[in-house]
């Protein structure tokens, strides 16, 4: 191993300023990917300091090292098994007690550790004074006060980390001292564990066995089932003594230590006047006012994104299409030229005119709102509505994202804690009408049938979401979901962190969606050149003509829609030879409504499918796609038969 190479992991609760510290440390040298095989984000960055090359890993923000969420599992596996040279525990100084309970769990992993006591400015505003020297003494690890937003203390933090690693000080951290009856049993189990080759620290493993941790138990069952049996017996004894489950007792006693330590080191003199952020909180979560405030903010956001997007999309598209003569000059207008321009370039242009004008501002606003704390208030307000479809408040955020574009919506499902909640939310997201679907609804039904029918389609879509959401919730086994969420104090977002988040998300979108859009548009171009469009349309006619009552040509438009949904409309205009759909003979209001309904539901576009594959694997993505195609055709056919009764 290279002696000058170090690995430092950042660990802490959510909303403690961890990502800001990560950005302060690593600047632009970052790489964001996923943990192998997990839908958990892994942020890694490098920095050079005092002759060392330091790899910094930003672990997900979590509250515990149990196995409630995938994030917790990933974090503890990393610290316990990969063993970084140093863990920097980032702590919110204004919420010391709860943060310390996590610190105590980290210490149980017996990893070299220092603490960044962050948000000292916020603590001060709340009238909290912390004696960090005393904290250092009580915990037995170095503590550095920091203000991540302004960069205060970051250098000292890094210096201390290196110093601690170099000195190889045998950190003798304070162990959460549990009651005598628990400590005795921890010792008995850890003595047993020490005798076998186990990948986790003995004391930590012993505590986890007593807590009934299924994952660690599974590992041990392979090696020594006897220890598991002993642990179970001992846990039962503790339960008898306390009248609560052993896990409850341990968590409880750990919190007692955290509470005692925090009382000893802090002095609180709360400000007399309620601060601005409290007033904003009260207003934005108000049982009556909260909703109009939310609606107005959402409308303002969507309106400004679409206005900005329309304008820039047009500008970018226009100037890129200006390149056409140059390409034709280079590649000619033959087959090659057609493939290069019509296949590759038009695919790229299509992607660019969506990604930059719409997705970029969308992400920016989203991360701005998230950092400020407003998203958690929205989740609070929307919780009971989301429960109607078997989800909880947090799921409203990916769903809202899906209204702009289903791709960020699907990726945004990561904020849900469990795999099941993620899948359910993603399924709902793929049914949400995205911006492109809105183009079809308004551009076809809204313009040529009536605005009432366009609105009716939205309502139908909403009903379908509720219905299918509920069904999926019932069909997927698992526990009911519930909201447990911190609403951290409102604060001014750190602009550089928000910009960076936006940038990485955008890059992620481009990497995932672009290759598929380009390949897809190339394939369709080839089909076109080979004159296969007509045969395919004829092949589909039993579905399109007989069942759905649509002109055969719409089959082609629907195939194009797989690339990007708004292409269905553009292709329809091209194929019919006119954009004034009212004058097409076989394409009356009934056909328009049925066509739109099918286009709305029939498939997540290719980029969304890619997002699903990435988050949930091929099988689930395939199932969702096939289901939605069949479902859309079914609904379309029924709608056709009902509509001819009306019209």
């Amino acid at each position: 191993m290279n002696r000058n190479k170090l690995t430092i992991a950042l660990a802490g609760n959510a909303n403690v300023g961890k990502s800001v510290i990560f950005n302060q440390l690593t600047g632009l040298h970052q790489h964001i990917g996923n943990w192998p095989g997990k839908t958990v984000e892994k942020a890694e960055g490098t920095l050079h300091f005092k002759g060392y090359t330091i790899d910094v890993i930003d672990l997900p923000g979590i509250y515990s090292l149990s196995t409630f969420s995938i994030e917790e599992l990933v974090s503890r596996e990393y610290i316990a098994v990969e063993r970084p040279n140093m863990v920097i525990n980032i702590v919110d100084a204004s919420l010391l007690e709860r943060n310390l309970s996590f610190t105590l769990q980290l210490l149980e992993l017996e990893t070299p550790m220092i603490m960044a006591l962050n948000q000292m400015d916020m603590a001060k505003k709340k009238g909290i004074k912390i004696d960090y020297k005393k904290l250092e003494k009580l915990l037995g690890i170095p503590v550095i006060p920091t203000v991540a937003l302004s960069g205060k203390g970051i250098y000292a933090l890094l210096e201390k980390a290196i110093e601690t690693i170099e000195k190889k000080v045998n950190v003798k951290p304070l162990k959460a001292q549990y009651g005598k009856e628990i400590e005795e049993r921890i010792e008995r189990i850890s003595n047993l564990v020490e005798k076998i080759q186990f990948k986790y620290p003995a004391r930590w493993a012993a505590i986890k066995f007593l807590e009934g941790d299924k994952e660690v138990e599974k590992e041990l069952l392979k090696i020594s089932p006897e220890i598991v049996a002993t642990a179970e017996k001992l846990a039962g004894e503790i339960e008898k003594i306390h009248g609560h489950s052993c896990s409850t007792v341990i968590t409880s006693e750990r919190y007692d230590v955290a509470s005692r330590v925090s009382r000893e080191v802090q002095e609180i003199t709360p400000p007399i006047k309620p601060p601005m952020r409290e007033k904003i909180h009260t207003l934005t979560t108000h049982k009556i006012l909260g909703y109009p405030i939310m609606a107005v903010s959402m409308l303002a956001i969507f309106y400004s994104i679409f206005t900005f997007g329309d304008y820039t999309s047009y500008l970018i598209g226009d100037s890129l299409f200006g390149l056409k003569p140059i390409f034709e000059g280079l590649f000619g207008t033959g087959v090659v030229g057609k493939l290069v321009w019509g296949g590759v370039m038009e695919g790229i242009i299509g992607g660019v005119t969506v990604a930059l004008p719409y997705i970029l501002p969308f992400y920016f606003i989203l991360y701005f709102l998230e950092d400020s704390g407003y998203l958690s208030r929205i989740a609070f307000l929307m919780d009971n509505i989301m429960h109607k479809i078997g989800l909880h408040g947090k799921a409203f955020i990916p769903v809202m994202l899906g209204l702009g574009c289903n791709v960020p919506g699907c990726l945004g499902c990561r904020i849900m804690e469990t795999e099941r909640e993620r899948l359910l939310t993603a399924f709902v997201v793929t049914l949400v009408p995205c911006a492109a679907t809105t183009v079809i609804i308004l551009g076809l039904v809204g313009a040529f049938v009536s605005i009432q029918w366009a609105l009716a389609l939205y309502i139908i879509n909403l009903l379908i979401i509720f219905l299918l959401g509920r069904l999926a919730f019932k069909a997927l086994p698992g526990e009911p979901t519930a909201l447990i969420m911190e609403m951290s104090d409102y604060r001014m977002p750190h602009l550089r962190t928000v910009l960076k988040q936006t940038w990485f998300r955008l890059a992620e979108f481009v990497k995932m969606a672009f290759p598929l859009i380009i390949v897809g548009s190339l394939v369709i171009k080839i089909i076109e050149i080979l004159n296969l469009l007509k045969p395919i349309a004829n092949f589909l006619s039993p579905v399109t003509v007989t069942w759905l009552g649509l002109p055969a040509i719409t089959g082609i438009a629907l195939i194009f829609g797989v690339l990007r949904k708004e292409l269905t409309l553009i292709m329809l205009a091209t194929l019919l030879g006119t954009a004034n759909f009212a004058e097409v003979p076989d394409f009356g209001p009934v056909q328009m409504i049925v066509f739109t309904l099918v286009a709305m539901l029939y498939i997540p576009c290719i980029a969304t499918i890619a997002a699903l594959v990435r988050e949930f694997g091929w099988k689930k993505a395939y199932l969702i796609t096939v289901f939605e195609i069949v479902f859309a055709i079914l609904v379309g056919g029924i709608a056709f038969r009902l509509l001819i009764l009306v019209y």
Partner: protein, 93 residues
Amino acid sequence: MMMELRLSDLRNGESGIITSIGVGRGRDRGHGGRARRGWRFGKRLEDMGLTPGTKVTVVKSAPLNGPLEVYVRGSRLAIGRGMAERIFVELKR
């Protein structure tokens, strides 16, 4: 008078001390022992600081049976109503 209530039954601004977090509603609540270990959301609540003996204050609840805003150990949490119905607290009224 001391009484035991569900957290969801507290009025806005009232505080209570957590006595237990039950698995189900009504009859089968209480000391489920190891059977209760399977209930992951209970563990989650405890991890967030809602352990027996802790003081918890209900600030307000969202309309139409929405979630509760509570204060516990200096932090502000949103807890779904179904969850709050399973948290038992002791208080003086």
